[in-house]
Amino acid sequence: MFDNLSGRLSDAARQLTGKGRLTESNIKDTLRQVRLALLEADVALPVVKTFIERIRVRALGEEVGKSLTPGQALVRIIHDELVQILGSESAPLDLRAQPPVVILLAGLQGAGKTTTAAKLAKRLIDREKKKVMLVSVDVHRPAAILQLQTLAGEVGALHCASDAGEKPTRIVDRALDEARRSHADVLIVDTAGRLHIDSGMMQEVVEVHEAAQPLETLFVVDSMAGQDAVNAATAFNESLSLTGTVLTKADGDAKGGVALSVVEVTGKPIRFMGIGEKIDALEAFHPDRMASRILGMGDVLSLVEEIEHTVSKEKTEKLAKKLKKGRGFDLSDLRDQLEQMMNMGGLATMLDKLPMPGNVNPAALADSANEQKIRRQIAIINSMTPSERRFPKTINGSRKKRIANGSGQQIQDVNRLLKQHLQMERMMKKVSRGGMKKFMRGMPGGGMPPGFR
């Protein structure tokens, strides 16, 4: 709290003078650890190499946040980079086209294509009220067609019967006809498992792809897959121009590094994650969770988060108590907020987390989102007397002049700060009833302080 303040400020100063930055020597060990962690998680070696190099370049010269060791700061950067590569939370299927829209599933043997076909059908039927037809062109594996037919029955999808003696492209043509005739919105084509180095079988699936003209071609891959998956993904992507990936069997204890490999080489998002054998065990893909899992450094990460958030959490709790007691949001509270923002890498990130009431203009607030400005604002508040901070309305013209002089700023700057405070105070009042819970959850430091649950 306040006794810490000076310490924290000098810390901040040190950051700005260029010490406490990541250097070649202070990231070496951590990079090595991360390299091993990625390999142990089955990320393909070439992918690991490029990833580590990218991190090294990105991290060098980066500031080390408060109270963190360089290693910890680096893990944070790596985690963020992983999340970014793994993609956005929502990469929904693109189904806007003339029905029947075709989805084709392909991949290695036993990856989970047939099961995923049924899960997808169920999801589209239940959530998007689509009429879905399933068809299997697996004329190779015993009982593959029956497997899909059985599952179609379970999920309430139409099934286009096929025969193991039929040519796969013939089956596709027939299924398209049948889908049109029965006014199906979506036709999901399940293909036989195949090795990417089996040119005959790859040719077959290319022909199926041509006949089916799918809008979505999904690569189905087992989360337990090893180093070679990167070759399989490359080959399937080259032959079929994939549009995405489904990661299956993620309910197990595999680290699932294959997710990173596949995204790197295909450049296509992971759409879904299979999390069980049951037909409803399909989830949207969560890059954040996957990144922690692949990195296997959950401990370090949560430690980093804890350190980053303790300070702000204490302040947040204090503020919450105060607001609860009916005392308003004064200028020392604003100072606390500003200080936290400095430690958080800017106001912009925080604005994302705040539920903004209508009368606050986020753009105007975001305008002050650079450290220089924030530091000046803090200086202005520091030049006030405690009583002025507590009762901003008492700050008249002569007081403003004194404060501006004391902080080396213009009177307009003081005015702007007071106006900003007023806006925030109004916002606080709004959210202090009902919206408070949500607001506090969005604050750095996360959870609700005691008494607000």
């Binding site: 015993p142 090795l195 337990m224 204890d253």
Partner: protein, 320 residues
């Protein structure tokens, strides 16, 4: 290219291909390494290159580091003066790990049927391996019966029945959702009544982290032992060669839960190397019985450490 339908010429194809692969292996070691070491001298760079190769074969960091550090010691002792010496050193190291687990399955004739319980994670190749094994055993003159112990997955029973028809062996099955232990127990009774030599019991795929399902397997094992306490005579883990480091966890957890007596590695016809087998062999010492090299009945071979090591060291699929 081969492996889908069971035609005789495919078999030739496979042997040719395996031979080609092994030859490629030699050429990789001689040609690529010779290229890497133009003067014929072996140095740290060459070892780094080898290290990458092992990691890309899924050998895993720990086992790879151990193998490489042995070679580094040899290098320091000036024992690796040329490519041939390096090749011998590396092969010796890998074979040293794998040779002890090269123990073929031998079918004894106990009082009742010799029971083989097939276990493994989802989609590893259990059912297909049973189909291949049925063919293999029939060719060797044994009478065989199959038990449809996967009562969970859609059409799992029919898949096994198809393999039964192909090989002309009886399949004992019950309705979907039946207790797998009861199905396998019934099959054992039937096999004994018909004086069958080998009973191959399929089970549903399960992830080793699913404790409830692992307990279910332990129960199958107990129930089978009720009438013949020496049964099941073989508890075989089916491992997919394309899997990475999790395969070691699979082997450990299945071994812990059931006491594995054998391992079969499938899908070695792909470009994945199954290098994790080195880590498993090192840690568990469970015999490796067969390798699967395709989807057809004849695409199975007894495990041979030498051949496996050769295939492991080819750079096929990754470039050359």
């Amino acid at each position: 290219m081969f492996g889908k339908k069971e035609k005789p010429e495919k078999r030739d194809g496979f042997i040719k291909r395996l031979r080609a692969r092994i030859n490629r292996g030699d050429s990789w070691l001689t040609y690529d390494l010779a290229n890497l070491a133009p003067g014929g001298t072996i140095d740290e760079d060459v070892l780094d290159e080898l290290e990458a190769l092992l990691v890309m074969a899924d050998v895993g960091v720990e086992t790879t580091e151990r193998i490489i550090s042995d070679l580094q010691k040899s290098l320091a002792r000036k024992e690796l003066k040329d490519v041939a010496a390096l090749r011998n050193g590396l092969r010796a190291s890998l074979c040293g790990i794998l040779a002890p687990v090269e123990k073929p399955l031998s079918i004894e004739k106990p009082g009742g049927p010799f029971v083989i319980l097939m276990v493994g994670v989802n989609g590893a190749g259990k059912t297909t391996t049973i189909g291949k094994l049925a063919r293999h055993l029939k060719d060797d003159g044994y009478s065989v019966m199959l038990a449809a112990g996967d009562t969970f997955r859609a059409a799992a029973v029919e898949q096994l029945q198809a393999w039964g028809e192909r090989n002309d062996v009886a399949v004992i099955a019950q309705q979907a959702g039946a207790d797998p232990a009861a199905v396998i127990f019934d099959a054992w009774e039937a096999a004994r009544a018909r004086n069958i030599d080998v009973l191959l019991a399929d089970t549903a795929g399960r992830l080793q982290s699913q404790t409830g399902l692992m307990d279910e397997l332990a129960k199958v094992k107990r129930v089978v032992a009720r009438r013949d306490e020496s049964a099941p005579h073989e508890i075989m883990l089916v491992l997919d060669a394309s899997q990475g480091q999790n395969a070691l966890v699979q082997a450990e957890k299945f071994h812990e839960a059931l006491g594995l007596t054998g391992i079969t590695v499938t899908k070695l016809d792909g470009s994945a190397k199954g290098g994790i087998l080195l880590a498993i062999a090192n840690r568990l010492n469970v015999p490796v019985r067969f390798i699967g090299i395709g989807e057809a009945a004849e695409d199975m071979q007894p495990f041979a450490a030498d051949d496996f090591v050769d295939a492991l060291l080819t750079s096929g699929g990754q470039g050359k």
